[in-house]
Symmetry: C2
Subunit: 143 residues, 2 copies
Amino acid sequence: MLSVTCKIAIKAVIYLASRYGSGEKAGIKEIAAGINASEHTVGKLLQTLVKKGVINSIKGPSGGFYVTSEQRRQPLMNILDAVDGKDIFTQCALGLNKCSATHPCPVHHDFKIARDQLKVIFTTKRVADLCNQVNNGLAYLVD
Amino acid sequence: MLSVTCKIAIKAVIYLASRYGSGEKAGIKEIAAGINASEHTVGKLLQTLVKKGVINSIKGPSGGFYVTSEQRRQPLMNILDAVDGKDIFTQCALGLNKCSATHPCPVHHDFKIARDQLKVIFTTKRVADLCNQVNNGLAYLVD
DNA sequence: TAAATAAAAGACAATTTAGTCTTTTATTTT
DNA sequence: AAAATAAAAGACTAAATTGTCTTTTATTTA
């Protein structure tokens, strides 16, 4: 479904946004430790997120990564798009290039319903929503 | 979602079952041509399907691959399980090992709904159903 | 029984994806 | 201004997946 990197990216952003206020910075080490992932992997992927405007960063001592209050309001889709792209929401279940209502693969109609539902989840769930769940102990970022 | 191999496998089985009657045999070349895929890839993957009992084969001249009428009634899930396994229907969206209703990741509840829906599609749709669609010109296996 | 046919099996190669490491650049603090 | 800190950048390695090829085995037909 999502790539491994993308899953880590979502956890990293939620961790950052749930533990730190808007503008408050966290370093790579801390974020990696907080979501139980490799520092190297997290470092690399945070770069991508900064480049795509999902989060921000500042170099140097007392630098780090942070989210703005606006970025808290963005849907998970932004993270997914930055790392994996949006292809999974348009691709045919059987790999046809031209699969549509007028030229469907044999599972097109049903598959589209499920695929669209996933799309709804990722476009309606916002970073802030998930932070609340984590902060209230209703959801977890680690096993 | 599904691996490339698995997508080809589904198309191969549907092609075989839609073009040939129960017990009627088709060769690798023909199946590969019929779904616009590489002979090598198809040959290899059909082996897997035979081993897992999704289809049957007979060696030698006038040999080939075929499906029984019983195999026509099997759900797509059997193909998916034979090639990719059923993991995609249990895996956590964010990659947690222990993600459940009592220890959920932040998207568990919604994701599970969509995931379960996909599972329903693959367990209720049978090979024969899709063959009918293809044979009636309601669905296609190639672009 | 020999030749031809077609799948089975497995080795191998290529590609893609993921993960790691090193060097560079920017910023801050002393 | 120098030293320290932390991200940026990119090269590199490793692993997983996908795809290709060759050899073997079974079967049939002449």
